[in-house]
Each structure stands twice: as C-alpha cells, then as structure tokens.
C-alpha cells in the first residue's frame, strides 16, 4: 500500500514539474523587452557608426574615397564625384551591434543643400545612449 502511494506521488510530482517548467518558459519568453520597432532592447551601451556608404540612383557608390568617421565629434565627411546628383543619394549606415538609427532611411535623400548637412541619431542597444551624427558631403572639384 505504501509502495503504491509513493509511485503515485512520483508520477504526480513529475507532471507538476513539467507544468511549472512550461509556465516558466512561456512567461520568461514574453518578458523580453522590445522597442516600438519590434527590436530587442539589450544591455549594450555602445553607440557609434562603424561605416558609411553613399549610393547614387544607379545604386553604385558615389564616394571618391573612404568616408572619414569621427566617433567623438560625431561627424561623417564624405567626398563625392564631380557631377553627382546630390538630390538623389541613398545613405547607408553601418552601426555597432544592437544600435539603431533615427530617423529611418526609407529612400533617396536630398543632400543638395551643402550648407545644411543632414543628421541622423544613433541609439544604443539599451536605448539609453543617443548620439547625433552629421553627414558633411563635399563634391570633387576640378
């Protein structure tokens, strides 16, 4: 009689453990912090631009050389070929892991007003550090 009771208890205990584990997994999965864009908010505080590209309407680079990225001054300096159509340029930022860019780049951007350079803000993975980068475009001159 005692043996039977122990067997039953063991069976119920394993079922109970399984149920608790399932609930724990389900609850823990729904607790990951996600921002308004559906991106994970992580613990990373790094916040910088690692590379920058500028494409023309033919989706080919218009840079004459590598961009100069100053992560302290938060500036990007890029020289483009003579005759580049500055009204239709497609900027591409490479960011540190988990960071994101604001505002989002959804298409060609008008860089023709060289006196008023465009700016984008890099937001760190933990969404607590924000750095605004300014893109200075210059045109190759004869």
């Amino acid at each position: 009689m005692k043996t039977l009771l122990i067997e039953r208890l063991r069976k119920y205990a394993s079922t109970l453990c399984l149920a608790v584990l399932s609930i724990a997994v389900t609850v823990s999965c729904s607790d990951y912090p996600i921002d308004e864009d559906g991106l994970l908010i992580t613990s990373r505080a790094d916040c910088y631009v690692s590379n920058f590209e500028l494409l023309g309407t033919d989706y080919q680079t218009v840079r004459t050389r590598n961009p100069v990225i100053d992560t302290v001054a938060c500036t990007i300096e890029v020289e483009v070929f003579f005759g580049t159509d500055l009204k239709n340029l497609y900027p591409q930022f490479s960011l540190v892991t988990d960071a994101k860019l604001e505002p989002k780049i959804t298409g060609f951007v008008d860089f023709s007003d060289l006196n008023n350079p465009k700016s984008w803000t890099v937001v760190s993975g933990n969404r607590k550090v924000r750095k605004t980068y300014t893109v200075h475009v210059s045109v190759q001159q004869p």
Partner: protein, 324 residues
C-alpha cells in the same frame, strides 16, 4: 534473443532495399497515331516593331507524308516574314543542320505557306514573323496548320502576344564631331546638322579628361550647367533640358546583345519617374545606362552604353524609346 532480433532486422532491411531498387522495365512511349503538331516560341523579351518573333513548328504523321505547312497571323507580317522550307536538327557538335523539304515559302496576305516536295513524315519548320507597324501596341495571334497527303489537317493556336510600343536603334556612334542626340529621330547629328533641327536635339555627348575629377564620357542636356559641358559650343537654338538618370545592371538583352536575361519593356517607361532627375550625367561607364525623358514629356528612353572608347573619345550607344 537479442542477436536473433538484430539479424532478422538486418535481413528485412536488405530485402526491402533490394526490392526497392529493382528496375521497372522501360517502355518506349507509343507515338500517338494520326497527324500531330506542336509549337514553341523561340524568341524572348518584348515583341518590337521591325524585329522578328520566332517560332518552331513541329508536325508529324508516322503513317502519311506531309503535304503543306501554313502559318496565319492575325495581323499580316511586315516584309521579311517567312517560314523556313528546311527542317532543322542539331548535330553532335551543337550545329543546326537544315534539310530542305520543299520550295521556299510563299506569303499571301496574312498567310505564309510551305509546300513539301520531299517525302517527309516529320519536320520542324521555323517561322519568323517580322512585326509590322500596324501591330504596334496591339496583340497578335498565330494559327499554325499542317496538312498531310491524305488531306487531313491539324492546327495549333499560339498567342495572343503583346507588341510593344517601343522603338529601338542600335549601335549609334557618338563622338566629338557627331555629338548631338535626338530622341525624337533616334539619330545622331553633327553640329551643322543639329543647327538645322535645334528643336529635336535632346542631348549632347562629350568626352573630357579633366585634372582632379572623374569626368570621362558624359551625356548632358544642352540646357545643363556649363560646368557639365566644358568647351561645348552649342548651335543656335539648341537649348532643351532633358532629364537624365543613371542606371546600372540593366543590360537589356536587345540593346546589349549580351548573355543577360534583362529586358526593358513598356511597363518600365510607364512607371518611370524622372521628376526629380538632373539634366546631365557625367563619368559614365561601359554597360551602364541612362533613363531619359525629353523636355516636352513626349518621349521616354533608355540609352545603353555598349562601348566607351577612351583612346579616341567616342561611344557606341543603343536606344529604346517609348512614346507617351
């Protein structure tokens, strides 16, 4: 006991494998009786006025020899439409070998006919339909018909096929002396010729080597800023501002005649938006292209740069044009 079980399992597995791998006897398919026919369209891409739409028409009757093959087009083909009087097969070297099966085709109205004069039970004839001006923007259909010597007839309907509204001009050479491009005329003019038709000149070609900048080959509007057309003395009245946008990786097969399966079609021009495009393009590259819209908004075009020659400073271009 365990060993016995393992042996039994292995035996069953091997037996299953052997049974599963057994070849089923192959039987050569029986050819259907009577007169048969089939058609494939060989040409691909947009069907353009002045160009060929090519078909291969196969017909066979294992019992009775063939008498006649006819193709009827819904719109009569232009001069040059013809049906092969040779039946082709491919030899071991990949060469098409044509065997004459009758006299050359006769075209009457919208029908092209070949009469068989040799004893032939099966043939594949090629049909080349040169798209006429009347078909521009229309659809065209074809009825392929074969008749055997017993008088039986079989037919195959192909299409309808849409005919593009585009025009095409290939391998126009632009240089310092022949530098004025007219989209309306799909032609290249010298400065003297351009002076006679200034309202038709949409673009100017130039090649320059300028220190410190990458200028090279350029196609610009007459109305573009002078910095983009250095040392170009425009003839009087040549002053149009044509929108130009660079393109890359659009090596249209009909313009480039390269291996790439890319085609610029009517829909590309219908959806093209050059409202924000500049009126010049410098530092051009071979095998690149330019989307163009004329100042009056009447024409859109795609200019493909077939060849750029830095040694003599000229370029070979090909144009597809769409009338809005």
């Amino acid at each position: 006991m365990n060993a016995l079980f393992n042996k039994l399992t292995l035996f069953i597995a091997i037996a299953t494998l052997l049974t599963g791998c057994e070849d089923e006897p192959y039987q050569v398919p029986e050819a259907p009786g009577g007169l048969q026919n089939d058609v494939i369209k060989r040409s691909i891409g947009p069907n353009m006025v002045g160009e060929f739409i090519e078909f291969a028409y196969a017909m066979a009757n294992k019992d009775v020899q063939l008498a006649e093959a006819t193709v009827e087009a819904s719109i009569p083909g232009a001069e040059g439409t013809w049906l092969e009087h040779r039946s082709y097969h491919t030899d071991g070297g990949g060469n098409d070998i044509g065997i004459p099966i009758g006299s050359p085709a006769v075209t009457t109205g919208n029908q092209t006919t070949v009469s068989f004069s040799t004893d032939t039970n099966a043939a594949t004839l090629r049909y080349y339909y040169r798209v006429p001006e009347a078909a521009r923007g229309q659809t065209v259909s074809f009825t392929f018909r074969a008749t055997d010597r017993s008088g039986r007839t079989v037919s195959y309907d192909a299409g309808p096929y849409h005919v593009s509204r585009m025009d095409m001009a290939l391998d126009l050479v632009v240089s310092d002396t022949e530098s004025y491009i007219s989209i309306e005329d799909m032609a290249i003019y010298s400065a003297e010729e351009a002076a006679a038709v200034p309202d038709k000149i949409d673009l100017v070609y130039l090649y320059r080597t300028i220190p410190n900048i990458a200028f090279g080959h350029a196609i610009v509007s007459p109305a573009s800023d002078e910095t983009y057309r250095p040392d170009v003395a425009l003839p009087a009245g040549v002053n149009r501002s044509t929108k130009v946008q660079k393109a890359w990786n659009i090596r249209d097969r009909q313009l480039a005649r390269l291996q790439f399966g890319v085609f610029v079609d009517d829909v590309d021009f219908q959806t093209l938006d050059l409202s924000n495009a500049p009126n010049y393009a410098v530092n051009l590259r071979e095998e690149a292209g330019l989307w163009v819209e004329t100042q009056d908004g009447r024409y859109r075009a795609y200019i493909f740069l077939n060849k750029l020659d830095n040694s003599v400073g000229n370029a070979t271009i090909s144009i597809k044009r769409y009338v809005l």
